[in-house]
Every structure is written in C-alpha cells, then in structure tokens.
Amino acid sequence: MIQKIKKYIQSELAGDPTLSISNDDDLLGSGIIDSIGIMKLVAFIEEEADVKIPPGEMVIENFINLNAIEQYLKTKQD
C-alpha cells in the first residue's frame, strides 16, 4: 500500500517518477506536494485503501510523511 502511495505521489503529484522520497520526508514541508496535492492524496488513499477518512482525521499529523500514513492506515484496520 505504501508503495502504491509513493508511486502516486511521484508520478501524479510531484511529476517525477524518479523522485526519491524517504518514508520520513515531510511531504508538505519539503514542497513535494501542496494544498491541492495533499487533498488529492487523501482522496487517493481513501479509494485505494478502501477507507473512509472523516474530516476530523484529516489532520497533518496523519499525513505528514509516509510513515505517518502507514501508521494511520494501520489504526483504521483495527
């Protein structure tokens, strides 16, 4: 799943399939994605991981980097 997300960020949002993203890179802060991008990312995650992310959980802590996303998705499965 995380790989899929990474791929999506690289090709669709950052426009560079070769862009290297470490799992703890601050996605927004480092400029890899912007406001619109992050919203699209959330939508993508909802679709791919088949989860519903309520507005209350759309906080930067859950999506700040790939690690955080992974953690967050784990909690959704429980």
Partner: protein, 1339 residues
Amino acid sequence: MTKNRSTLTSQQLLIWLGQKMQPDLPIYNVVFTFNFHQTLDAKTFNDAFNKLLKTRPSLRTVFIEQKDKPVQYLSDYQPEIHEVVDITKWTDTEIKHWLHHRAMQKIELEKKCYDSVLLQGENESIWFFNVHHIITDAWSFTLYFNDLKSFYFNEKDENTSTHYEDYIIFEQNEDNKKFLEYWEKKSEPLKRIELFPLQTNKESSCTREHIDLGNNLSQKLSALTEHQEFKSLTKDLSFYQLFMTAIFSVVFKISSVRDLRIGTPIHSRVKPDFKNTAGLFLDFFPVNITISKEESFRTLHKKVQNEVIELFKYARPGAANAKIRSSFNIILNYINKSFDSFNGIDFQSLWMGNGFIDQTDQIRIQVHDLNKTGNFHLCIDFNDQYFTKRNRSDFITYLIATLEELTGNPSQLLTDIQINPKIDSLLSYSNTEFEGDVRKAFLHQVDINPQRIAARQEGIELTYLDLFKKASQVAAYLQAKDVKPKEKVVLNLPRSVDYIAAFIGVLLNNNCAVPVPITSPIKRTEYIKENTDAALSIDSVSMQEINEQHLSNFKKQEIHSDDSMYVIFTSGSTGEPKGVELSHQSFANYIFWANDYYLKKSPVYAPLFTSVGFDLTLTSLFLPLISGGTCTIYPENDNSGIIDLKSVFNNQNLNLIKATPTHLQLVKNYLRSNSNLKVLIVGGESFSSDLARYLQENYNDDFYIYNEYGPTEAAVGCIVHRFEKEMDKTGNVPIGKPIRNMHSVLLNDEKQPVLPNTVGEIYLLGYGVAKGYLKNETLTQEKFISHELFPGQRLYKTGDFARINEQGQFEFLGRKDDQVKLNGYRIELGEIEKAVAKLTKSEQTVAMVWDNDIRNKAENLFYCTSCGLPSNYPSIKYNEEGVCSLCQNFDNYQAQVEHYFRSLDELKDLIESRKQKNSEYDCMMLLSGGKDSTYALAKLKELGFHVLAYNFDNGYISQEALDNARKICNDLNVDLLIDSTEAMNEIFVDSLKRHSNVCNGCFKAIYTLSTHVALDKNIPVIVTGLSRGQFFETRLSEELFKSNTSIENIDEIILEARKEYHRINDAVSEHLDVSIFESDEVFEKVEFVDFYRFCDSSLAEMYDYLDQTLEWKRPTDTGRSTNCLINQLGIYVHKKKEGYSNYAFPYSWDVRIGHKTREESIEEINEEIQEKKVFQMMDEIGYNFDESLLSKGIVVYYTGKYLDDKKLRNELKSLLPSYMIPNRFIHLEEIPITENGKVDKAKLPDPNSQFTNSSAYQAPRNDLEELIAQIWQEILQINKIGVFDNFLSLGGNSLAAIRITSRIEEKLGLEIPLRELFEHPTIADYSDLIADIIQSNLN
C-alpha cells in the same frame, strides 16, 4: 514562423464565448498596477519586459477563428519599445482617471492579449499591466512580476518553464467523462439566489471594492484555524474553509434561502511543472450547502469541510463546462500566492477592476494577501445590477461582522447573529393616543349637515337626517327583537340605502355587523349565520317591516372602542371561509386616517359598487359619511355581482373611487376625462406600474393614485403609497409605508427581523390588528402572535412577502402560497405570468400549478347532494342546493327515458324470434361473475333458454368471481366458455394511453372475441349484463332524448355508434381479428342485447334472489363492486392523468337511478388504492409509469394573441428556466373575476381536459366551422379545437359522436349519419360535408 495552432482548453473556451457575447466590453481584462515608491529605470524596465515576453511565450498568444472555431497560436517574439507615460506633472486624480480608463480598454484577441505601460513620475513608477483572462490568472501575475523583477535586477536570464501548450495537451488527454457527469449532477438548477433586488438594467457593469480585514481579524482567523475542528491539512485549506463558511452564512442571512450554492475555482496546476507556467488554469466548480434549522457556524463548517473534500476529489482539469459554470452566481476565489519583494524597493500592488463582470455573476469575492502584508485582503466585484452603493456597504459590513462572530463564537446559531446594530428605527415605535369611533363621526355630520345628501341610489336621495332617522328605526327594531349590545347581526341586503341605514342602525345599538352580499350562495350564508351565532339577520323582507313605530322605546347604546364593529368573511385558499372580527378602534383608526389623508377632511363623493362582503367596500361606505360627502350606490344587477364599471368611472360627480387592479384593467379603455376625480385608491391585488401610469395619464394633474395594501385582518388598509410617475417606473407600484398608528416589520422564518433591503414576511402591528378569527382559536393563535421585540403587542402574520427599498418603501413581492414548489424546484408564478404576457401581449395572465393528487384528495372534494358526483369531475357545476348539473339535466328528460326500457317478456320474445335452427344455443351471456351478469344468467335460464355463458379472463380476473361463475354455471347446468387473448397486455397499455383506464380496452376485447365465438357457433344473440347506470354512461346521452327521437331511431343511432366503435384503429384492431366488423353483415347475424334494458329488478330483489336461489357469493378480493384486480391500476392512472376517478360518472348514474346509495358511491370513489400492487401490475403488463403520467404541472391562462403551444414553449426557453416552462397553455377570451374584483381561479378551465395540440392550430374560418367548433369544444370538454384536429385524437368516442350528431341535428335540422363523423374526423372536413349537404338540399 511558428504557426502551431492549438485548440482552446475548456476554461479558455468559456471565456472566449463570454467575450463573444459582449464583444465590446472589457469583462475579462485582468489588470494589476504596481506602484513603486521610486522611479525605475525605463530602459532597464524595457529590457526586462522584453525578456519576459521572450521567456513567457503565453503572453504572445493570439486567437483567431478557423472555420467558426477559435484556435490559438503564439506570435513570434519581437522585442518592443515599451510604452512610457510621463506623469510627473499629473495630479493623483488624473493618474487614477487614466488608469481607470486604460483598464477598460478593449483587448483585441487576434492581435495582442496584453497591454503594458510604465508610468514615470517623480520618485514613483507605476507599472500598469493588463492581461486578458483567456491567457492568465492571478497566479500567473505573480510569475510575471517575479520574473520581471529577476530580469530587472539581472538575477537570471533564461527561464525554464513549461509552456501552456503542454497543459493544453495534458487537458485533452485527461479522461474526464466520469467527473463531468459528477459535476453536471451537482449543478442541477436551484432557485436563483438574489441577494438584493434587481436594481437596473446596467448589464455587466460592476464595482470593485477593496477591503483590508486588518491585523486583528486576520489574527483571530489564524487562531481559529489552530482549533481541532477548524484545522485542515494545511493552513490555506483551513482559511479557505473559514471564508467559505462565512460567505454561506451571509448569503443565507440576506436571501433567507436555504439551498445555497457557491462557485469556486480550483486551479488546475496539478503537475509541479505547471506551477511555473503562466496561463489560464482555473476551473470553476459548485459547492452546495443546505442550511438546516438550528444551524451554527460549527455545523455549517462541518458541511463545508465535507463539500471541500468532495470538491478536491472530483475536480479535474477540464471537468467543467458552460452549464456547470452558469449554475452559480456567487464566487469565492482564495488565492495563496504573492508577489516577491522588489529587492528593497517599496511597492504596492493593486488588483484593479475593469468595471465589468459576467452579467450572470452577482458577486465575486477574492481573498488574497498578494502583497504579503500578513493580513487578509478582500477584492469584491459587485454586479451593479444587484448592488447599489448601500448594498455593497451592507454586504461588506455583514461579511466582516460574520467573520468577527465566527471567530468570537463558533457555536453561534446563524439565526442568532445580530449583524446589523442599526436594524430599524421601527423597533422603537409608538402609537399616538387614539379616540373616537365611526358612529360618533357620522352623528357629528348629522348634527352639522343634516340636509346634505348622504346617500344616493337611482333617483332616491337620503339626507343625513333621513339616513339617521332610518338607521334609528333599525336600531329600535333590533332592540324590540331583543338583540342585546355586542351581539352580532347579519346584514343580508343588496347594495342600497337600506343597507347603509341598516349598518348604521346596527352600530347605533352597539351590535356587530356581519355583511353578507345577496349574491352569496345559500349554503355560505347559512354557514355565516351559524358561525357568528348571529342574534338576527336583516334582509330585504325585514327592512320592509321596519318603520317608525319602533322608535318609541329606543335607548341609545354606548360604544367602547374595544367593542366589535364588524365581521367580514374571507374565502381563504382552502376550505371554509374565515370570519375576521374587528373592533371599532381598529376601523376608526383607518377611516379617520383616510379622512385626513386622501381628501384632507373635505367631503368625499364616492361610489359604492363593490361587494359588501369585501372590506375594501367599507372605505367607500364610510368615508363619505364621516366627511359630509355622498355615497353613490350602484346596486347589484344580478347574481354575478358585476356591474357597469364604465358608468362608475365616468360619473362626473365623484371625487374618490376605490377599486381593484382587475377593475381598472377592465375599464381602462373606456375612461373619459373627469375633472372632479381627485383620488383613486387601488387595493386587493398587485398593482403594476404600467397600469398606474396609463391611468395617471388619463386624468389631469390634480389627480392622485394610491396603492393601499391591507389584509382584512388589519382593518382595510395599513400600508399606503402615492404613485409617482417619475419614480415608480418598473414592476409593481410599491405599497409604501404604514399609516398612522400602524407598523410593519419584515421577519424571516424564525420570526427575526430581516436585513435591510432583503425579503421577509410582512407582520403588522398597531391599532388596526383584528381581534381574531371567529370560532377558530387554533388559526387565531397561529396568525396573531406576540413577539419579544414588541412587548405587549399583537402581530398579525400576513403570509405576504415584501422588502423595503432604498426609499424606505415596502414593495409587495407576492403571497407565500404563490411560491409553489414543483418536483423540488421553486416556481415563481409571477415570473411565468410576466414572460407569457410579454410574448402574447396578454393583459391578464394567470399561472397556476395543478396537482391531480391534491385534486383527488377526498377532503378537497364536494359531492353532489343528490348523486354524489365529486367536484373534481371536469366542468361540473352545482346549484345552490348542491345538486350537480347532470342530475338537474336528467330531471328534464327522465320521463322520456322510461320509454327506452322494456319488460322481460319483450326480451323473451326477442330471443325467441331470433332462434336459429342449427344452433346449439339460443343466446350467449357475457358472464363476469358479478351480481349483474349472474342474475341475468339465472333469469335467462328461468325463461327457458339454452344459454352459453361466456367469461373473459383478462389475466387479472378475481379468483372468487371466476369460482362464482363456475359454480353458478354448474348449478344452473349451463355451459361455460372461458376465453382469453395473449395480446391482453398490449390492449391494456393501449387503453391506458388512449382512455386513461383499462376497462375500455378490456370491454372492446370482450365484444370482439365474443362476437367471433357467436359467429362460430351460430349464436344470434349476445346478452350483456351492463347495468342501467352503464347505459347512461356509454350510450344514452341526453341529446338522444331531448330531440324527441323515436326509440327505433335511438336504437339505430346506438347501433351505428357500435359499428364505428369496432372500426376504430387501436390495439384491439391490431391484435385481434376485427375483419368481421368491416361489413354490416355481422351486426345482422349477431345482435347485442342489454339484459337490464328489459329488467327492472331492484337491488334488493337481485340480492335476495342471488342469496336464496343461487348461494352466490360476493367477491371480496377486489374490494369493490368489480370482478377484476387490474381495475385498481386503471383507477390509479385515471386519477393521476385526468384528475378524477373514472368511476365517478358511472357511479353517479347508479345512484341517480337507485342502484346504489350516494354514500356507497362516495366511499368507493375515495377507496384507497394499493400503490405497490398497482406498480407491480404496471410492470407485468409493460406500462411505463414515468412517461405518460403527468399528474401535475404548470398551466398558464392568457388572453391576447393566441400562440401555438410549441412556439410559446420555444420562446419561453430564453425567458425562463426549464423547470418553469408551463406544461399547458390555455388561451381565453377573458379571465374570469370574482365579485370582489379579483381573478376567479375556481372558474378557470380545467387544465386536465386541455389537449396538447401536435398540429398547428387553425381557428374556424367561417360561421359553419365556428358553430361546429363550439359544439365539439363543449362536448369534448376542450378549450380550443383547431379545424384540422382529429376527432379521435381529441378523445372522441361513440358517446361523443352521438352527442355531436344530435346537436348538429338540433341546430341545423340536418340528420347526419353517425359514421360521417368518423369518416370526416376534422372540423374542416365535417364542415365541408355539411356544407355540401346543405347545398344539395337547396338544389
């Protein structure tokens, strides 16, 4: 030369089209000025700009049309000499003026899409840069500016940016179908939200306001975004949502509309490369919110959050189109880019407006901090059509106040927000001290002017003294009859001096007058007497009894201002009339004010010509009497209550007339000049400025027209406006301002004052407010309320909408009832009326929503007191006793009908005479299994005949009926044949389409198939079990009997009708073999005979016989006196499509001839249909529910020029939204009016019986065609039949054919064979035929 042509992106195309619509307006100029606090070097700037041109090629885009399609390409780079203007000697005003002017300069898209100028001053430079929106957006400007800065300071040379072409290709390759569909769905039409009323026709012009929210508010907003629930993934997203929440809140407060929509752009720079690309990257999408009751900022914000998530989910470059773009007219654009610093040189950027806006947009709110000040800035474009200076200021105030409230108290309910501290001086009102009553004022006149004429009627003149004497006699009479003070007295008198005397007499005894016009139906009068607990009723007869002798014991009664003076009954939109009770004080307040205001206390000479049951009349009655003037009486002519308005208006002795706009419409073309007429008071309905102006121009300068608004519940009139020709130019005349001691507030649904200049419901308070409704405490509580803002006061809730305009005048906007909903859309009937009136030049148009479901509701129906026929039966009328016209007519020919019926012996003879030698059976009996056919069969057997019982199974026959049939045949030892056809479903569907029922098709199938069997088996007679009621329903029209036709003749006519019936092309003829009916032979071989023509057994006798002799069981599984389950479906469809039950008519006949009771009939008509079963059956037979069931729609009645329906619809498309285009258009010679002078909606023709014409309408071209058309129209119940319309397509059937033929015979003395109507099925052809016949008769 690179001439690489590209198509436009979808956003570009929208702008292209927008510009094409307004080719000369600079709507799309995006203009920024950068004001440097230092003089820049012109040459350096020039070079920098050229580098910008080189490296931002999109600036060099030009657009041309290739084969009617726009294409774009880049013109080659040419370094240019940048325009420089020396402003060193200019004043600030001059600079501003120049900039403003230049910003509006038209950009020629085929030449150059930008305009750049450097203004050089002393210690300042202004860079003016205008780029057409088709190649730019605000983001792009930051790119231009930042690039220019880099070039100016030589920070870089080249620019590796992606070109817009890449985006064009990118957008083209995106598969947006799914997203487009999503957005189209989201753009479904809503009621247009009008923030403020349409001011003028200044299309497209716009004013831009710049607002700095300031540090304080900006910080508060920032702080709010730190809160958990207001925090989104990024700060910008959080702010965006806050602003969106605030805007929805403001729009809701202003418009009071709950279903809201805002448009917002999402920039389509989805690839990182695009972030550095200049060009148009904005797609606009709608955001929908519905404001609930008890909505707070918090809950609204949550909704906004969810919408924004969806927004980003589905927003895709190019997934927007014109339809989506036009679905909103309020826009929020949140811009999170800014300009770089200019290396230390201070500057100010200003986003200038170009003076124009897309005319469909009301307001655009741009939020930004382009200058990196740390505060939010709003750039708001206000469409001048909707916003005056005051409105703009108000809006800004509301928005800022809302933002303050939002940050201060996010839990605040939207409805509690007090965002305008200076709401209305109204809230601190007061009433002046008041004293007096009308009686006193009249008596004063009697004192000082006893010999003046008080009332005049056709030669009779009564002086004040006379009138007083007569009134005293009435009062004495009341006392003699023991009528105590405060009791109610009904005045059921014609307009006359007697009436006036009686009214005053009633007041002399301190009784409460209840005027009831003599034109009032008996039932209504009775109701009124009961409802008021009237102590006495005075009518013409009682007046004759009254004379002097009563005076001797008369004691004058004291009046307290609180005592009731009169009760007037209003009709109300539904159900029973309501009695409104008013006190002396209420009325006196009005009439004394009127006396002071209209003619300044000088004597009033007014006509009394309107209904006494209408409170409008009280003005005309009492103003003269308290001013020493004369009341000129125009009595009623007849029951219609309509009088000769011309003579009223042209009466040179009057100086004041009070009338309704409808009266004025009727009389306006007949007005002569009248130098004595000074005042025209108009009330009762909306009053158009056009009409007012027309009238004003007819009279001289010393003549004034007053629009007087007032419900009966607030004493005649309470808000008044004097018509001003120069001011009141468009729309309706305002209703003005409250009269003395009366006040009006506009409240919203939550009963809070609405914002200034916005729409609210009128609530009235003051002396004029009535006591309440008689004997209706619930309604009184509902309509007369208390309100915390007005302690100690009673407010009357009018149900009328209004707004207060800039001049502080109330403008009436319509009744709550007129704001109807159809299929979820709000329909503005007034708009529809205006649009149709425009196209047809109609003087009066009435639009209504008809809904057959409501029409069919039992509680809305009235039933004939004799036969139970319900009032939703088309065009049915009832007399005063509630007896329907069918019953009344039947009385006239009932006697003749007796001759038609025969005895059983005659039946026996008939069958005997037809016996065939080689036939197994003497006759066939159509046996359904119900009581009628079963009884008939038994009787036939009794008569000794060999009968073949024929039963038809249509697939839905009741099992019990079938069992009955089998059992009976078994018991009687009769052969039973059960027939059916595979084509039954098609026959059902066809019958539903043609006749809106299933029975027609079924009957026809039975007749056809049974005839086949009869032919096969050589059976000479088929006996039907049709009830007598069914005879009248299908065959025995009144025309047959009225014209004294012999019975043989009648039989012939009926046979002819039957022949034609079988020859009609329909599903039966398609699926069954009808060739046998082509020649007349079959009708000679097989004779149809109706058993009940020969048998007169009563219901009781029949049931007795069936019970005892046969143990017949009544089928219970069909729920009514029918044998088949699909019947319900037919009834359901008929009710929906036609607006009444198809059983209404036949049942009424059953009752009329005694075979059913009225109560049974009513009960069965209203029996509940099991919809689930019905839908199931529809599925089974293949009947498509949706397309053909039009149970509700919009109908518009108009006068003026008749236009073809199709044409009207087409033209209306450009005037009205699609969901407001009427389904039916009905052209009338004139619109019917009530005796109160208002449109009589009940008398308007039934929209259901209006056939929509597919062929072009051709009016009758000569007298003969006219005559025939009238007959056809009357019998087919269709308003207008063109001479080329086909009889069958119009719904013509055998019965109609019989009636038409009979009428023609009656009118022209010509016997035209029935079949001719079927062979010449248009008025044109039929008329030709008749003309030929007449011609040959003459020769």
